[in-house]
Symmetry: C2
Subunit: 192 residues, 2 copies
Amino acid sequence: MIVGAVAHDTRSRLLDTAVKLFSEHGVEGTSLQMIADELGITKAAVYYHFKTKDAIADEIVTPLLAELNPIVEEASARRTRGAQIDHALAGFVDLIVRRRALVGLMIRDPGILRAAGRTSRSPTVAEVRAKLYMMFVGPDPTPTDMITVHILTRGLALAGGDPEYADVDDETLRHHLLEAGRRLLGRPRRRT
Amino acid sequence: MIVGAVAHDTRSRLLDTAVKLFSEHGVEGTSLQMIADELGITKAAVYYHFKTKDAIADEIVTPLLAELNPIVEEASARRTRGAQIDHALAGFVDLIVRRRALVGLMIRDPGILRAAGRTSRSPTVAEVRAKLYMMFVGPDPTPTDMITVHILTRGLALAGGDPEYADVDDETLRHHLLEAGRRLLGRPRRRT
């Protein structure tokens, strides 16, 4: 039991450390050895948990997709387009704020999504992204609609994960991202 | 003369190669040796042109700032807020499209802007960015205004530099980015 708990703890510390180093050096610029050194463990100990950097990247990306997917599913069950947009935007912004270090990393470093794309887990990044986009633009988008939502979703994620806002508390950041997102999507201001 | 021309050619090929490798591996994940190998020259030949990666990053970023700065200056000379926004947006989008590989790299990899930030050239990234932001939000922005323009400018740059649109020709990409930017900023549609 105790050994299991220690292994579990090492695994989650290892993932946190990987996110930190990936953010600082990029996925390409980070080695398993660097992760081991930062944690003060041997490379063999890292290897016990993850055989490759891809496996680490996958383990980082998959939980995010697992959180975003039901948000988009719930949004699609709303009756009006306005309610669909509002639900998808609020859920997406909430996820960005709660996981801002990770989301910023995913947007900035294509390496981590390439790694996740090599895995066979479902839902895939492409599937969840397509469903999220459709919530914002509807089922029959023009090319301009598509690029608008591309700008909006990546801009939100990049802004939310920006070191410039690292000291802003969750509630404040959520409020401003949501207001900015609503404004950019042409949604009416919410009464507060 | 011929020797000078060859050196000049090597220098510009070196910069192109650096942009390519920085995009693939991140600034952190790229070494002067990798640049030399990709070009099929010696590391000493790279060193003849640039002593450090920072110097390469600086040489990449500085011309972009030199192009963006007069656009923002021109925009600020326009009389109405609408004309200021339109001029700044059109110029910014045009720069993104013409320099899309570079702009995408600058947005995704903070390493290159960190390197540029270490230099003393003017105007700096921070100065040009502040002037661009002011064109979009006016002189007295709220926090939501600031985050809105942050989302918009980075989203535009990230979308323009996305490999997904690498096959889209300049005119088409410019059209869609501009329309999307106008829509996101709440500007009226242009007559075409």
